[in-house]
Symmetry: C2
Subunit: 234 residues, 2 copies
DNA sequence: TCAAAAGTGTTAAGTTTACACCCATGA
DNA sequence: TCATGGGTGTAAACTTAACACTTTTGA
């Protein structure tokens, strides 16, 4: 705020215009046992305390909105430097029955194994399968729908799926992840052929013996060798 | 605002949280003589009066943010029921040097012929070619970049290009529009072949004699026959 | 009569899809 | 030994890309 007018006339150039509460809401996606999940929470404050909702919070006075989203995510997961993307701003006049609030939705992709489950319990949060999400507060369900649409549009062109997996993963896991997000079956041989052509998905020496007797090769996503690829097409 | 607490304690559940100015900024795209253009304006108020910027305005107290965007668009163009899409929210703490403002960008596609040019002059607004836009205020140039990226992602899957053209248009015009938006040459015969396969782009009896001696068939986009198509692929 | 834009098909290259069996292992 | 998930190649269908000449007409 840098007004050159005396403060007793106005506190800023814009002071005649109304102000609004601004919140962020986080759609936190995770992937577990072949299912895409989203984290929902029993709202911890009034109004509508105890109803299912997304995790959210109000933007602080001198905080970037991205920072606010990262703060909310960290509160609930303990995680930082997580892949997040803005979904959009939700600003219908009547969307929040507590007061006028303009909310900016972000989605995050987390490796569910790194998740802090004490924090999850502390916040009464719960991983729900994407197509079993109950009625949520306000327009939160629409936010999830929009976030999922955005994720779908991204997953086949940008290497974001790895954000949902542990550092080492099997091709079956990766395929199930794509199937869960795109909500369609993929042919195993065709899938592997295409993955093979992506130099930034690299086979390691390591073998996963959990999911099968025979053992499955573990792969990793190599950030460096992705650097120059503009995008791909699954 | 429906607080059940006495008004002298708090005015709403959220009253301990800060409030922010919220604005909308409009990226208004037009298409003229083979060029994609965007409307920029000499800012009519302080701070930074007279600098090039997008057309914007503050959200009113009981107004949806979409409504605010439509209002701003109407102020400048005289047009209503125009194709508009949210680009996203811009909320860096220091983005506006006048005061903290969170701005939500929308892009609009207008038929430049329907534009009210008196209003344009009144607002000191100017159609600039997309790749000749000068330095703009704050993060407005980034908003244009993001809007264009969004438009590009859309144009080949959804019939939005027509919003930029008059009701009747030639295939050459349509092709130039796609070339301008995608920023790449398209083969004429391949383009026409694909357009021919789209039942919702219909040839009319009318002929355009302006752009060539021979005359070119005029086509129109038929909304009704698009209804059931989920999307297409140019 | 010629300049300028409109209009028109075919072929080769590349991409996508469909499809079924053997392998390695632990229980 | 058998049940389970891992791993592998080819051919047909389809899509995309490359390419050049004729038509019409007003100046």
């Amino acid at each position: 705020m840098h007004s050159f007018l005396p403060y007793f006339i106005m506190t800023s150039y814009y002071s005649k215009y109304p102000k609004f509460h601004v919140a962020v809401d986080c759609i936190i996606f995770g992937f577990e046992r072949g299912r895409l999940k989203v984290l929902i929470q029993k709202r911890p404050f009034e109004p509508h305390q105890g109803e299912w909702s997304l995790m959210g919070g109000f933007v602080k006075r001198d905080e970037d909105i991205e920072e606010a989203a990262e703060r909310v995510l960290k509160q609930l997961t303990g995680l930082q430097n997580i892949f997040m993307k803005q979904v959009g701003a939700y600003g219908s006049a009547g969307r929040d029955s507590g007061d006028r609030v303009i909310s900016i939705a972000y989605f995050a992709l987390v490796d569910i194994d790194r998740f802090n489950h004490d924090l999850r319990h502390e916040h009464a949060a719960y991983w729900e399968e994407i197509d079993r999400v109950p009625q949520l507060l306000f327009d939160h369900k629409e936010m999830i729908k929009d976030a999922l649409r955005k994720l779908r549009g991204m997953i086949s062109r940008l290497p974001v799926g790895f954000e949902l997996l542990p550092p080492l993963f099997t091709l079956t896991q990766l395929q199930m992840l794509y199937e869960a997000i795109l909500n369609e079956k993929i042919d195993k041989r065709n899938f592997r052929k295409r993955i093979n052509e992506m130099p930034f998905i690299q086979k390691t020496e390591a073998v996963d013996k959990v999911s099968s007797r025979r053992g499955a090769a573990l792969y990793r996503f190599n950030v460096e060798s992705y650097q120059h690829e503009p995008f791909f097409r699954l």
